[in-house]
Symmetry: C2
Subunit: 364 residues, 2 copies
């Protein structure tokens, strides 16, 4: 989508120089700094330092990392070394492993001298697929938006959409998942307004979603996470749409901590609650998400300290509690399927139920 009015992707391939460029997300929203990735080490560092984040973008970055490695040394040993080095950057990231294995599968049958070029093509293909998938998710969700818009008492009023965390283009190669239909609605001339929830502790709503929407010109308003219930109660939210980290075979949704509170409020006030996901987010081996999805415990420091820009324009972190205060920091929560109005995938919207998901799986 757009940065300073120009169309961009979160990772861009330079065909001539055979390098990749990323927006360094550690300095967003206060600065837009492009970084060039030219080596395996560059790609690994970008993932470890969280200059790139979001499962699809991490996968794409790792795929380019395989190309950089194979350009230097395309032997089987070097290939396995590169895979191990990239996999170690985020050992639990499913999408990262998937991307690495996909590149290896694509290049392994080639003679070493042709492997680098095959890896470059595969990295590009991974990017293009991500863009296509996310665009399709957005297209299907946009249909839901349109029918909600048509039902509004004043159909000329903007459609008020609430989101949580960042499921936008900067977490993917382009478009995003939950934010994809918002861009498509806006680009099609539909009036939309987005309630952006800060998303403590890491503030991805305030720092990334607000930045994305601002750069692309989509009307939005930042709120603290606490404000969500009040806005939904007062009829100021027409729908909630979020992404997900994992969805079980019965439609339970693990997503950024705080998602469940929004789902509770949406249910209480009959506001649709949509979850936008590529089909690859579904973990078919799990059913009961509350029982079985492991919840990552993150550092207390994310709760007690907040980074931002000080009055002098420097990035700084401030302590907001008594020094040494104990804190608990669950990375995710699980929203049971009964709170989810629909799962919106690249193959269309589907009910969040074991039956409907099994049907979708059989169909595609």
């Amino acid at each position: 989508m757009k940065i300073h009015g120009q169309p961009h992707r979160a990772i861009e391939a330079d065909h001539e120089r055979r390098i990749a460029r990323i927006v360094d997300q550690t300095v967003l929203p206060h600065e837009v700094a492009w970084r060039e990735l030219e080596t395996l080490e560059d790609a690994a560092e970008a993932i470890v330092a969280m200059r790139v984040r979001g499962a699809p973008l991490i996968g794409a970055t790792a795929a380019f990392g395989m190309f950089f490695a194979l350009r230097e040394d395309a032997s089987d040993a070097a290939m396995q070394h590169a895979r191990a080095a990239l996999h170690a950057t985020r050992p639990t990231a499913v999408n990262l492993r998937w991307a690495l294995d996909r590149v290896i599968l694509a290049v392994a049958s080639f003679a070493p001298e042709n492997r680098a070029e095959a890896a470059w093509s595969e990295a590009l293909a991974i990017c293009e697929e991500d863009v296509r998938t996310n665009h399709a998710i957005g297209r299907h969700a946009l249909e839901l938006f349109r029918s909600l818009q048509a039902k509004k008492a004043d159909p000329s009023a903007p459609l008020n959409i609430m989101t949580h965390c960042n499921a936008g283009w900067i977490a993917c190669v382009d478009w995003g998942t939950a934010i994809s239909p918002i861009y498509q609605a806006h680009d099609a001339g539909m009036k939309v307004h987005v309630w952006v929830s800060e998303t403590r502790p890491r503030g991805q709503g305030a720092s990334l979603t607000a930045w994305e929407l601002r750069e692309h010109g989509v009307p939005h308003t930042l709120i603290v996470d606490n404000n969500a219930g009040h806005l939904i109660q007062r009829g100021l939210v027409d729908l909630v749409i979020v992404g997900a980290d994992r969805v079980t075979a019965q439609g339970d949704v693990a997503n950024k901590i705080g998602t469940y509170l929004k789902a509770l409020a949406a249910k209480e006030h009959d506001v649709p609650f949509y979850v936008a996901i590529p089909l690859s987010t579904i973990d078919w081996t799990m059913t009961d998400g509350v029982r079985d999805i492991p919840i990552e415990q993150r550092s207390a420091r994310e709760v007690t300290h907040i980074p931002g820009l000080n009055a002098q324009g420097h990035r700084e972190e401030v302590l907001i509690a008594p020094a040494g205060t104990p804190a608990r920091n669950d990375g995710f929560d699980v929203t049971p399927a009964r709170f989810v109005s629909a799962l919106v995938t690249e193959h269309g919207a589907v009910e969040a139920s074991a039956k409907a998901l099994a049907g979708l799986r059989a169909r595609v």
Copy 2:
């Protein structure tokens, strides 16, 4: 309650010097700075600069302010001037006006030369009443705690209590409202553990409640507001208890933004949700709180900027969103009576319903 192991009140009268001392809440939790109030101007400034906050504490501070004014000049004109000056510090604070009128009523019939002493006595009486009221609220809520403790699968495990914002002793003269039973339980040797919700935007949970509990030695864990639903879903919360800014005659509760989300989660998981209030918090002129309670709109800056202590130990404010991001900041939300398990007053716990509240009103 305790600071550095010593018992204190949030406002302390020095009988010998006829001055009052307050803890400057603008520098908490990073520094405990006592300030002496000796003049009308000192008292007014403490309220305006939010060195004191919380309805009861503001009222008590204003009462001492009247004494300081009358000590200088006890004429009718001076008394009215002092009342106007103190009232202007927070024109919408009901408790502030009540305290001022109470002092005036207590002193007006005296000859000017005796008015100052009468005001001093009345200020002390206001403080003592607040302490008694809050202690009684805590005593009644403690009974509820004990019966929940007895029902726990493992009665030797700590009772897990979740609170929101700061309804502690530092918002009152002593004890607090929602936190009063927690201190009483802890002091009585009952095992309690408190989930302290940060309470964005102003962070009163992180900065004040966490500080209070730490100083008094009560086990607690800080969480981001987003974490509340997950903990309640996982059975890690035995009860939620909060204060209130206003309760209607049918039991609807206006309290700090975010309270409603906790009430929704508590209801979904059958966790008791208590609201601790002095009877004076009930606005008998209102019934439907969602319809009628005005919701204060606060500044966008509280959403986009966060104050804290930087690495050098200096207080600083950091920007957490793109500069100029529009933000909405509702100060309060309204939790309908059906989500409230009980209102706990100084006269005992009562059902949050028009009938039960009318009965209580008739009884006392």
